[in-house]
Amino acid sequence: MSVTDQPAPPAPAGARHAHGLTRRRKIVVAGVGVAAAAALVAGGIAVTGAYFTSQATVSGQSVGTATVAITAGTATSSAPISAASLLPGDSESTTIDLANTGSEDVYYTIRLPKTAGGDTALESAIQVEVAVGAASETRSLTAWQAGALQIGPALAAAGGQTMTVTISLPTTADNTLQGLDAGFTAQIDAIQARNTTAPTAGWVAD
């Protein structure tokens, strides 16, 4: 606390009787013989007349929140899947880089929302495998719409992870699938790992 030896400004009129403490402080001050007058001391001390007052400030105290942020994009060494003439037995892959750009470790899930305009029959036939570390899940694109792949280990703050997405058309794919289209994106949902119960890895249905 800092002490400033200056005459106290006159106290506001309304403040003089505002609190019983004011009267007691006045008596005590008179009793100790301190020659100072103050009408009001900041912080709620009411004075009557002029007083010497002082103020001390403790600096450097601050409050901030953590950040949870994640990014995902096609790896520079890869390219988005763009299969123009799939035949039964064909497969194509792409590599996606995940990055935890927040300040907290995160748990995350992976979804594959299909894009509009696709053909239902092909979406049901085409198999999509997502592989992240030791975890992998293979389902038809249609089946992927009903849940997400939960990754067990947390992605550390500032950490990264590679995800591989592979599409394949089964050798048993029906002749009627010729000329059809299907498309999807990859969506990653992350949540702070701290204060979150560790999830069970694997497929989680909606």
């Binding site: 994009g73 299969a83 792409t94 085409i126 002749n175 949540i191 999830p199």
Partner: protein
Amino acid sequence: MPHIGLGLLGVTGAATLLLALSGGLPTTGASFTAQAVVGAAQEAHAAEVGALGDPSASRTAAGVATVGWDTPTQRNDVAPAYTVRRTVEAATAEIDPTLTTSDGRTGFTDDLTRAADFRYRDVTRVSAGAFNVCAIADGAAYCWGRNVYGQIGDGTTTSRKVPTPVSTSGVLAGKTVTDISVGLAQTCAVADGRAYCWGWGGGLGDGGTTTSSVPVAVSTDGVLAGKTVTDISTGYNFTCAVADGRAYCWGDNGNGKLGNGGSTASYVPVAVSTSGALAGKTVTAVAAGGGIACALAAGRAYCWGYDGDGAVGDGEGVSTSSVPVAVRTDGALAGTTVTRVTAGNGHACAVASGQAYCWGRGARGQLGDGTSTDQYVPVAVSTDDALAGRTVTDIDGGDLGTCAVASGAAYCWGSVELSARSSVPVALDTTGVLHGTTATAISLGPGSGCVSAGVVACWGDNGEGQLGDGSSVRRSYEPVLAGDEGHGLTEPFCEPDWLLDATRCAPGPDVSVSYRIDYAKRGWSPPAAVELSADWSGS
């Protein structure tokens, strides 16, 4: 510690409030969350396997089809799996042609020909000798079996196990063979009214004693000058022929078998004596055997040569006769008309009024009368069993047996290499190659025999390939076909509207040929297969 529900969200930098993460992340109250979506979509387009473009098909007179189409361009990295079905007339079959690809086209050539079927030609004569057999088919001579002396007449001395053409590059060139006969080691034939022989020298009638593996002309400088030969028969080292109604013989003359009254061999034809029994008779057929010869004249049989076993048939049976004598007709042959005569080796037989008669040596049952007794005069072959009610039309005597054709079937008796010896006729097996056939002629040699019945079937010894079936396997009971596929006696033929090319048949212009071509890539096929006709482009 409770969390404030304000998250700093990392969706491309944008902040979004999420109260809980979908997908089951466990949360308690509010949490900081974030979401990222990969910007570029993942896209898949299934291939479209298109129909084959610009298909074409044609075929030639030789039966070769050429089929082509545009090579599919979709997914060139995956080879098309083609399925090709060919329909010829009403028959459809899947084929596996060798495909070629060039200049954007894929196709194949397809051999539409089929192996021709074979059928026997018109076999008019068959003659079984000692170790080889000859036949006439469509006017040409074919022989098989032993060929040590060139008796097959093909210009070699190599034995043949299948019917082999007699050379026509020499004296037989352009001639039509009408009769043929095989003896011990020589063969003679009649072609265009003249006699020709080949094989062992000394019996060829050409004036010399040189063995010949190709036909030589029997001399016409002498008694045959200007005459037309119509019948010929070769025995053991001698031959007799009929020319202008008279009999002539040449070769060995032991036991007077040339019939000219002498016993000296003649290397050119001599006339059989007509001063005796044949005086004024017109000879129509002649038969030479082991040591005897016989002739047919005016419905009667005449024989000459060795008569020790009564083979001359005049009832004497004690000597030889170097001139023809009449076979007795006061016994079994009384009132009959002889139409065929044959000379074996010590016995002779005839067909008279549809029945068979034999005389001479009978120890092996070769007379067919149910005995093993020599007969100096003709006896009737038994008609009690196999020949009952049948009409005999042909007969031939071998060394120790006799065979005949009766009512279209073949019968034999004596020792005929057919089965156990029998002194009465037994039928030739007809459960095999002779099933359903009609026999027309038969010939029996010392160890084998052959029957002409639309097919030529032989049985017996086969050590020299004399059965003509390509093997050396003896066939004691079941006759086998001689040269059944493409060996002289048979000819290739095709179905109607098909064209014969050597031994192959090609579809003619009136035979429909079409193809159905389908393909798939990894099991995916176009909506429709290509179907097209292979148009005829022949001339």
